[in-house]
Each structure stands twice: as structure tokens, then as C-alpha cells.
């Protein structure tokens, strides 16, 4: 466990209680589902790695916490600040990671994260990039 949490909580919003979204034009159903019911949000007791990355251009932030048993990711949690795609990518990433081996996680691409988030409009691809970099950083941390 490399990053010290300055607060403790496991009281998390398992779902942001939202009515079905109408952003039919801009975003997919999967995307909207990630926004309405974010997966794996929060922090993690006994995380083996916790990394926060930010996009210096727009200020978006993503924090990822992983707990590893053997070579497998046993638990993954995220926190995010930024435009909706950043929230959706955080949710998609943390949700995918749970149960993956570290090798599988290392092979994840930006495009796969974007796809898992339900697809992103061209101008919002930076959200997937941030998620990808946060993951890479976490894996690096786990290796050291």
C-alpha cells in the first residue's frame, strides 16, 4: 500500500440515483448507465496501490485503488473529478479490472476502456487516456 489516505470511509454511493438519461444523441446507453450507476466507486481499505492522475490541460482527475491477491486484482475502486466521460471511464475501468490478472490489466488499451464506457465522442477521448494512464501508473507502482 503506497499512497496514504488522509481520510477513511467505505460509505460510498453504490449508485447515484438517477432517472434514465435522455442524452440519446451524445452518449450511448452503456455510457449513461455508468453515469447513473457508477460501478466500484469509492476508496479501498487495504489497497495495494492507490494512484491519482490528472489531466493538466482540463483539470480532470482520476484516482484508482487496487487490492491484489496473487497476480489477480481482487478489488478495484475509483474516484473521479471532471466531465462525464471521465466519470464513466473511471467506472468502466474499475469495473473491468476486478477479477483480471495483472497481465491482462497490462494489456488493456485506451480503446477498450473507451468502449467499456460505452464509447466516447471524438472530443472526449482524453477521458479514456486519463484512465489508461492511471492504470499504467498503478501497475508500475505495484511492480516497484
Amino acid at each position: 500500500m503506497k499512497v496514504k489516505l488522509t481520510f477513511s470511509t467505505e460509505a460510498l454511493p453504490t449508485a447515484i440515483r438517477l432517472l434514465p438519461t435522455i442524452l440519446s444523441v451524445a452518449y450511448s446507453d452503456t455510457f449513461k448507465e455508468h453515469l447513473a450507476n457508477p460501478r466500484n466507486a469509492g476508496t479501498l481499505e487495504g489497497a495495494d496501490a492507490e494512484v491519482e492522475q490528472s489531466n493538466p490541460v482540463c483539470g480532470d482527475r482520476l484516482r484508482l485503488a487496487l487490492r491484489v491477491r496473487g497476480r489477480r486484482i481482487e478489488a478495484a475502486r475509483f474516484l473521479a473529478y471532471g466531465c462525464p466521460p471521465t466519470l464513466a471511464c473511471g467506472s468502466a475501468l474499475a469495473w473491468m479490472l476486478e477479477g483480471m490478472t495483472l497481465d491482462e490489466a497490462a494489456r488493456l488499451t485506451r480503446a477498450e476502456i473507451a468502449e467499456a464506457a460505452g464509447g466516447l465522442p471524438p472530443r472526449k477521448q482524453h477521458a479514456a487516456a486519463l484512465a489508461y494512464e492511471t492504470l499504467q501508473e498503478s501497475l508500475t507502482l505495484l511492480r516497484t
Partner: protein
């Protein structure tokens, strides 16, 4: 789904009375006002009637009103039309840091053509200082363009006081100096009178006044000459070519009439609803900051930054519950940059990104406000729980609490 529209600064629904007024001009009364025959004269008469109503709304004479395709074109015609006309007398323009993207864009285009543009600050309260205008005025200044009320935070600018400065200089011989004011937002929320304001040019847009999008007007004080921008035909006394959009102009006329008659009552209602809203938000949501001077402000606008979260996320979460609001200017909300207006108030990035504009309209109800007061705090809280910024802040507060005890 229950829907509450709190984005009247972006656009307004068309008043049913306005729809009724324009409908005949889509169907039976379809003539081209340039035509000499019956159909044309009927259309011409309707355009002239509408011109009188729009003139009446701002205390102008009918022949001082030039109909345009909207507020953006009115601003283009005012600023470029005057600057092209006056280029030999000077190439300096004074504007503010919080103008609408149309005025901002035109000023940038002027700079690319070797004009100098001075952008005045608005300080923490979103209001330009008259002394700053005085200090910026130069012998080669040909235009001062200061909006009457801002579209994001609703702050009202001291246009009449600026007009006094401009008049002074003009009387001292700087004949080509003109004052333009963008009253697109102001007209819906306060009395606008061109003589009280003392401006030479004033922009209006119908769709902020419960008329359709696609029509606006520029008030051009008698004697002020402009280089026409949309060229062709003899329309609008050669000041703006193109077949007049008779149905939209008629709609604008009716909306102007209704605004004139009902303004006082509308603003009274809207102001009290906003009070209910702001009191409600304050009691339910912590860590908020109002943007823009709360006294010198349009009655329907409430711009609030929510700490620790980002505006677009909140906007979309509210939208998913049927509440329509906006973040930044409606026109640039598709872009990534934080609103330049909120930045001009000196807010840091986080507060600028977390700003939401709630704008009330004449048909907003108490029940609607109460519904928003129900869903907004939850949406803010949920996003904050997801936010690493919030977690940090909560953590350090708890720490401070602990270490302080």
C-alpha cells in the same frame, strides 16, 4: 418524466400568444414585403407594425430599428458596421472581458486586421468600472461596446454612466466615437430605454423574449451610419439586405409588446422565485459560491459554483432528472475551457468549472423550484462522493477537527 426548464438565458419557449400572432404569416399572409401587390403590402404593413412594437420596447423611433437574423448578427452589424465605417478616424475599440462570444469574436477578428482592442476587467463582482472606461478612452477610440447585462452571471453594467463619458468626448470633437450595448439578455429582465442609456447602438434578440430563434434587431440612433454587412436588396433602408422573415418579425413584434406590458409583473414574480431558490440552495448545499454581484443582477439569473465537482457532470445529472440548466455560456458549453466570464471574475479553475447557471422564466412556478431544490442537493452530494477533491477536503477537515480537539 417531470421536466423543469431553468435555462431561459439560453433560450425561451415561444409564448402561445406569439405563436398565434405569427401563424397567419406562415399561411395566408405569406407575401414578400418587397412586392408591390396586395400580398406584399400586407406583409410590409405587418413588418412595420412589428417595427413600431420593437421600437416601443426600447424607447426608439421605428426607423431606428434594423431587423436582423438574431442577436449575433445585430452585434456583428453594430461592431463591424461601425468600425468599417470609422476606420479612417481611428482603430481602437474598448470592450469588456465578459462580452458574449459574438462581440468577443468580432473584436478578435478586428485585432487580426490591425485594430487595437482594450478589454476591461470586471473584478470579483462582474461589473465594469466607469473609471476604467475613462482611463481606456483614447483619441483614436471609435467604439465602446459594453453589454447591458451579462448572459452568464446576469450582472448589469453601468452603460448610462459610460454613455456620459462618450458624450463628453464626442462633444469635445471626437465625432466618430460611438457606444454600443448588447441588450440581448437585459431586455428580458429590466427596463431598457435607449435615451436613458444614451447608447448609439443596441442589440436585441427575440428568442430571449419568448419569440422564436432567428430574428433580432439593432437599434441605430438617428444619424449613425453603418457599413452594411449583409448586402443585397433595398430592405431595412439599405442597412440589411435579404428578404425579411415576416413571420419571425411579426412574432418579435408581439413578444416585444408583451414584454413591454408585462415586464414589471414578470420581474417581480421571477425575482421572488429566485429568492426562494437561493435560500433553498443555501440551506441544503454547503460549499457554494455565487458568481457575480448579487444586487446588480438580472432578476432571473442565479449562477453558482459548487466546490469539488464539475459543472458538466452536475448539468447532466440534473438533466437525467429532467432539470435543464447550463454551465458556462450556452454557446460554448460544448467546448472544454472553463467559462471565460467566470474566469474574468477571478475564480480559480475548480470554481470556474463548477459553475452552473440557473435561469428562471416568466412561466417558472414555485413547484418547479421546489422540485429542483429536491433533486439538486442529492446530485451535488452524489458527485462529491465520487470526487477525489471532495474526499481530500473532507479528510483534511476531519483531520483539522481531530487535531484541533
Amino acid at each position: 418524466m417531470r421536466r423543469v426548464y431553468l435555462d431561459h438565458s439560453a433560450t425561451t419557449p415561444v409564448d402561445p400568444r406569439v405563436v398565434e400572432a405569427l401563424l397567419p404569416f406562415l399561411t395566408a399572409k405569406f407575401g414578400n414585403p418587397s412586392s408591390v401587390h396586395f400580398y406584399g403590402q400586407e406583409a410590409r404593413a405587418a413588418v412595420d407594425r412589428a417595427r413600431r412594437e420593437v421600437a416601443g420596447l426600447v424607447g426608439a423611433r421605428p426607423n431606428e430599428i434594423v431587423f436582423t437574423s438574431g442577436g449575433t448578427e445585430a452585434n456583428n452589424l453594430a461592431v463591424r458596421g461601425h468600425c468599417e465605417q470609422a476606420a479612417d478616424q481611428g482603430r481602437h475599440v474598448i470592450t469588456t472581458a465578459i462580452e458574449h462570444s459574438s462581440v468577443r469574436g468580432i473584436c478578435e477578428a478586428l485585432e487580426r486586421r490591425d485594430w487595437e482592442v482594450t478589454r476591461l476587467p470586471v473584478y470579483g463582482d462582474g461589473v465594469v468600472r466607469v473609471e476604467d472606461v475613462r482611463a481606456a478612452l483614447r483619441p483614436d477610440t471609435v467604439l465602446v461596446t459594453v453589454m447591458l447585462a451579462n448572459n452568464e452571471v446576469g450582472t448589469v453594467q453601468p452603460v448610462a454612466e459610460i454613455a456620459a463619458l462618450v458624450r463628453e468626448l464626442r462633444e469635445a470633437g471626437q465625432k466618430h466615437l460611438r457606444l454600443h450595448t448588447d441588450a440581448v439578455q437585459a431586455a428580458a429582465g429590466m427596463r431598457v430605454d435607449v435615451d436613458e442609456l444614451g447608447c448609439d447602438l443596441l442589440s436585441l434578440s427575440a428568442h430571449k423574449l419568448y419569440a422564436p430563434k432567428g430574428v433580432g434587431a439593432l437599434y441605430v440612433r438617428r444619424g449613425v451610419r453603418l457599413a452594411p454587412q449583409n448586402i443585397g436588396g433595398h430592405q431595412e433602408r439599405e442597412r440589411r439586405g435579404g428578404t425579411e422573415s415576416v413571420p419571425l418579425i411579426v412574432a418579435f413584434g408581439e413578444a416585444a409588446r408583451l414584454t413591454r406590458v408585462e415586464l414589471e409583473e414578470r420581474t417581480r414574480r421571477i425575482r421572488s422565485l429566485r429568492e426562494r431558490f437561493e435560500t433553498g440552495v443555501e440551506s441544503r448545499v454547503a460549499d457554494i459560491v455565487y458568481n457575480g454581484d448579487r444586487a446588480r443582477r438580472l432578476p432571473g439569473v442565479s449562477n453558482i459554483s459548487f466546490r469539488f465537482i464539475e459543472g458538466e457532470g452536475l448539468l447532466i445529472n440534473l438533466d437525467m432528472q429532467g432539470v435543464a440548466v447550463s454551465t458556462g455560456s450556452a454557446c460554448s458549453s460544448g467546448s472544454l475551457e472553463p467559462s471565460p466570464v467566470i474566469r474574468a471574475l477571478g475564480r480559480d479553475d475548480e470554481l470556474a468549472r463548477g459553475s452552473i447557471r440557473f435561469s428562471l422564466g416568466k412561466d417558472t412556478t414555485e413547484e418547479e423550484i421546489d422540485y429542483v431544490l429536491e433533486v439538486l442537493p442529492r446530485a451535488v452530494e452524489n458527485l462529491r462522493r465520487l470526487s477525489p477533491l471532495y474526499q481530500k477536503a473532507v479528510g483534511s477537515r476531519q483531520y483539522a477537527l481531530r487535531s484541533g480537539s
